[in-house]
């Protein structure tokens, strides 16, 4: 007599399913994941893992963590990163050292694959969570990540 037990099990599993969706329905007012974007522009915070654009954080002394090793440039699959560097004399040690002049990032070409950030040995670059990246001219999408006059954090390579 599996006929009636089939019916019983079917009804039971259907009711279980309906109770699950019913709970979602009742909680939808509070738990809705929809963001009403232009209205909540001031309070909207993107998720930590959201990939907006690559940025280079600077500390209060205008020092960044990029040593100019070019690993990110090599890791980038479509050449979105270009690093202009030269050898300068380090004022503290007096030795010649590789230093970045400009860390150029083409946001227009970037596919947000995150390979550069994984490749960086000193965590100099990371993802920002901003998403309002539209501009009127394509040239604005090419960005210099290190701020003018910034230096590498001393003692980073030791």
């Amino acid at each position: 007599m599996s006929y009636f037990s089939d019916i019983y099990n079917a009804v039971k599993s259907l009711l279980t399913g309906m109770s699950v969706t019913g709970k979602y329905f009742l909680h939808s007012r509070k738990g809705a994941i929809t963001q009403q974007y232009p209205d909540n522009r001031d309070t909207l915070k993107m998720f930590e893992r959201f990939r907006g654009e690559v940025v280079m954080p600077h500390d209060e002394n205008n020092e960044h963590r990029c040593t100019g090793c070019q690993k990110c440039e090599l890791a980038c699959p479509n050449g979105s990163i270009e690093i202009i560097w030269d050898r300068q004399i380090d004022p503290t040690t007096g030795k010649k050292k590789k230093m970045i002049d400009q860390h150029i990032y083409h946001l227009g070409m970037c596919t947000m694959c995150s390979l550069c950030i994984e490749a960086c040995p000193t965590d100099a670059i990371k993802w920002a969570q901003n998403f309002e990246n539209s501009v009127y001219d394509r040239a604005y999408l090419t960005r210099v990540l290190n701020k003018p006059g910034s230096k590498v954090l001393p003692g980073l390579e030791d």
């Binding site: 259907l14 399913g17 309906m18 969706t21 019913g22 979602y24 939808s28 007012r29 994941i33 929809t34």
Partner: protein
């Protein structure tokens, strides 16, 4: 109602009898058309909001307060769109099909007792008329699929034929189970019987089984998920209305929602006492009957939406197994049980 009586007398004093009755019919038709359009549009909105809440979204809430004008805007857009026809379509049938679907839906609407006096057409074979009218609608779907000259449309239409012919049996038999208790097919009579307890209470166990079967078969009848094989977006594009655009598409779309309303309204009338208030709390105010009728219908419509956003779609063979191996035998057993119960006087009456 007093207003209708006054209008009736005024019309008959104004012109000869034949002309007056025609004018009256036209007026009633216009009233029902308005109900039809408003109900259709707002059911679409309700479906969208309810679907959104089930999926933890917000749904359309921008056009008007809480999105109340959203479907109006959609309808305006559809009216202004071009009506396209494929070259190989059978033009006459292609243009005829949407009207079949929408006219049958409208005809069924006229039978419901919205309140004691608000019923346009109280025919003595009410339930029979309703079930037969609702199965004429499938001819429209078949014609649409056939005349579009499109493989997807044809498959969708044929599935619709299979589905409606199968589930029509369950709808008919589950309603017949209740008719055993009322002893009449006339809707006003059925409501009269329920003044001593709603039929789902009067008939207890067999009535509840009949209600479950009716809801399952009714959902299949309206081609809604989990029985939406007719449209099956992931397999057939849009099924039978793939080739339709603009207002003709809107006719199919509206008719689908009106059919859902009709299925829920039949269930309200037959199982839940139509316009009668629970425990007779507002018996003294007959106008509130409309409110109770719509409230009960909306609860049942919500139940159907709940089905739609919970259950996955059935395969075509599973659909037929469900009907022919489970619903139909259960229904026949249930009918015998109900007949025995009525014979032995085991129904509950207050």
């Amino acid at each position: 109602m007093n207003i209708t009586k006054n209008i009736h007398e005024w019309l008959f004093s104004l012109m000869p009898e034949a002309a007056a009755s025609i004018v009256e019919m036209v007026l009633i038709a216009v009233v029902y058309l308005i109900i039809f359009a408003v109900a259709g549009l707002y059911l679409v909105l309700l479906e969208r909001r309810v679907a959104a809440w089930f999926q933890l979204r917000l749904g359309p809430n921008r056009v008007g307060y809480q999105g109340l004008l959203q479907t109006m805007a959609d309808a305006l857009k559809l009216v202004s769109k071009e009506l396209t026809v494929t070259i190989k379509a059978d033009k006459f049938l292609y243009n005829l099909a949407p009207y079949f679907v929408i006219v049958t839906a409208l005809m069924a609407l006229s039978l419901f007792p919205f309140s004691e006096e608000f019923q346009a057409f109280d025919i003595n074979i009410g339930i029979f008329f309703l079930t037969s009218i609702s199965s004429i609608g499938v001819i429209g779907i078949l014609l649409a699929g056939w005349s579009s000259n499109n493989k997807f449309s044809l498959i969708g239409a044929m599935r619709s034929g299979v589905q409606t012919i199968s589930y029509e049996l369950s709808v008919g038999l589950s309603l017949l189970t209740m008719v055993v208790m009322t002893g009449s097919l006339q809707l006003s009579q059925i409501v009269e019987v329920q003044k001593s307890g709603w039929l789902i209470v009067q008939g207890h166990i067999p009535a509840i089984i009949a209600f479950c079967i009716y809801m399952i078969a009714g959902t299949a009848e309206t081609n809604r998920a989990p029985f939406d094989l007719v449209e099956a977006e992931s397999e057939l594009g849009a099924g039978f209305h793939t080739e339709y655009s603009g207002m003709k598409f809107a006719y199919f779309f509206l008719a689908e929602f009106i059919n859902m309303f009709i299925i829920a309204a039949i269930a309200t009338t037959v199982f839940f006492g139509a316009y009668l208030s629970p425990f007779g709390i507002t018996e003294s105010i007959p106008l509130l009957g409309v409110f109770w009728f719509l409230a009960k219908t909306l609860v049942l419509i919500f139940l159907m939406m709940w089905f739609r956003w919970t259950f996955p779609r059935l395969r075509i063979d599973q659909l037929l197994v469900l009907e022919w191996k489970y619903l139909l035998p259960l229904n026949l057993m249930n009918l015998v049980l109900m007949a025995l119960m009525v014979l032995l006087g085991l129904t509950i009456k207050f």
